[in-house]
Symmetry: C2
Subunit: 295 residues, 2 copies
């Protein structure tokens, strides 16, 4: 299958402003994102949330794209409506006019440039291998095998294929030059890949690449009333994609008591202490390290 229709979604979260400024740049200089075999559509995910400098108005837009939610007319919050409008423009999910959706995000966590892939398959493996070849500092984050695509609630799952460009650390509502640059370069590599893929002209790719697969999220320590009683331990802060071993310090209570990680095997962290996940008291994602076979 050739990738003819590509959409780049920027500013899905209103306070992740890197994508919005990249969009403004690319609107002025569209040659930067055009390729010989396609011309991407630029879409601002949540302009109203950007205006008020918040992640969202009513709901997190990047949780509204399950097939069930998109078809549920009783969901009338701002982002629930915006999801339906985007699905009309870019989707419809399950039978999409868009071959690839690239959704641009940033995180307050120290994740560096990350390629997040919510589905799996040959196309994704080739893409990940190409990106690692061109930009070895990218981490490949697989979130593919826990849900069928239809149930996935992410913006990028509207396309036949979809990926997230996720770069950090950057505080909400801040532009960091390094994060801006990494986001731009990673997106450029994805566009280059698609162009080469369309022309059956990919370079020789590595046979295997390292990646991380999402296992589950861990909650912050809470008391019986749901009040936070501690925070992420400083040994874990900023250690995204590093090993967390059984017995390692994980949290510290406000009173100074260290709570260790009690899992049975070594895992790897991601989205450590992400600001936006405080709403749900999420402390970190836990990942397993895997090898992707490229063929």
């Amino acid at each position: 299958m050739k990738i003819k229709q590509v959409a780049i979604v920027c500013g899905t979260h209103g306070n992740e402003i890197t994508g919005v400024y990249l969009m403004k740049k690319w609107q002025k200089q569209s040659q930067l994102i055009q390729r010989s075999t396609f011309s991407p559509k630029l879409v601002q995910g949540n302009p109203k949330a950007y205006e008020i400098n918040r992640r969202y108005v009513d709901q997190d837009l990047n949780r509204q794209f399950s097939a069930t939610s998109l078809q549920d007319d009783s969901l009338t919050g701002y982002e629930q409506l915006r999801a339906k409008a985007l699905n009309q423009m870019i989707g419809p999910k399950g039978d999409s006019k868009t071959d690839l959706v690239i959704d641009l995000h940033t995180t307050t966590s120290n994740m560096g440039p990350t390629l997040l892939m919510p589905q799996k398959g040959t196309f994704y493996n080739f893409l990940a291998a190409y990106v690692k070849l061109k930009m070895p500092e990218v981490t490949v984050f697989c979130d593919e095998d826990h849900k069928p695509n239809n149930e996935h609630h992410l913006v990028c799952t509207m396309g036949k294929y979809g990926v997230i460009v996720e770069v950090g650390p950057v505080p909400q509502s801040v532009l960091r030059h390094d994060v801006f640059e990494q986001s731009e370069i990673l997106t450029q590599h994805i566009l280059d890949f698609v162009d080469l893929y369309n022309q059956d002209n990919l370079p020789e790719l590595p046979k295997q690449i390292e990646a991380y697969r999402f296992i589950k999220s861990l909650k912050l320590p809470l008391d019986e009333h749901g009040e936070r009683i501690g925070m992420v331990h400083k040994n874990v802060q900023d250690t995204d994609f590093k090993a967390l071993n059984p017995g390692d310090p994980l949290f510290i209570t406000f009173d100074g008591e260290v709570i260790p990680y009690t899992g049975e095997q070594t895992v790897y962290t991601a989205f450590v202490n992400e600001a936006a996940y405080y709403d749900n008291n999420l402390a970190t994602s836990l990942m397993e390290k895997i090898q992707l076979d490229i063929q």
Copy 2:
């Protein structure tokens, strides 16, 4: 003069949550902030802004404390009213029942633990020297000689004396263990100092300490419509209290053009790329390095 009445203000900015969690801790364990010669009052600066997880509701609370604003009954925004209420509780400014106000803040900038002093004098010099003796990693930030205290708009200027504990980097709405710990330890040292000062029992202090004095703020590059056209250059990002020399890269436009610093002498940065200052398109504060004589 003995320091009998001390107020610790936490959560003056609603999304600087470190202070709020320190307040909750100290409310439960008041012995941590009590000293033999005084017992501080704990005050949450802006509870409503904390509830909505924003810096402020209507105005920045930490800009509402000039004598003129406090006396202006036509100022009826939420923080303008809150300032008057706090002034009644802690002040009144100019004739304050509170000898020392300690106001707890965090920043997204890489400033480390910083003691910010908006006034000057022997008390401040002794305090700064004591803090440097006990916690050498603290930076002393002087903002004293540009305005008389009456015109200062900061919360802490309500007291006879007032200081700000300013620690970063931490994204807005995030608790970082290291920043929490530094904020707590720095505050403890200030309380210890006051207790020793009250007892004429200060240890031998250094004769001179290094500090930084605010000169002015620099704006982000804007076009003729006031739209941002660039960001802080990555060479300057995270370099708070480091030298910025004439000709050094300072900004980069979104098109990739480097804009150098064009001042005539070496200065030092602070509040580099602070999230909250985007409202006013402030890129960084410029500081001069000074020596404070302790006597």
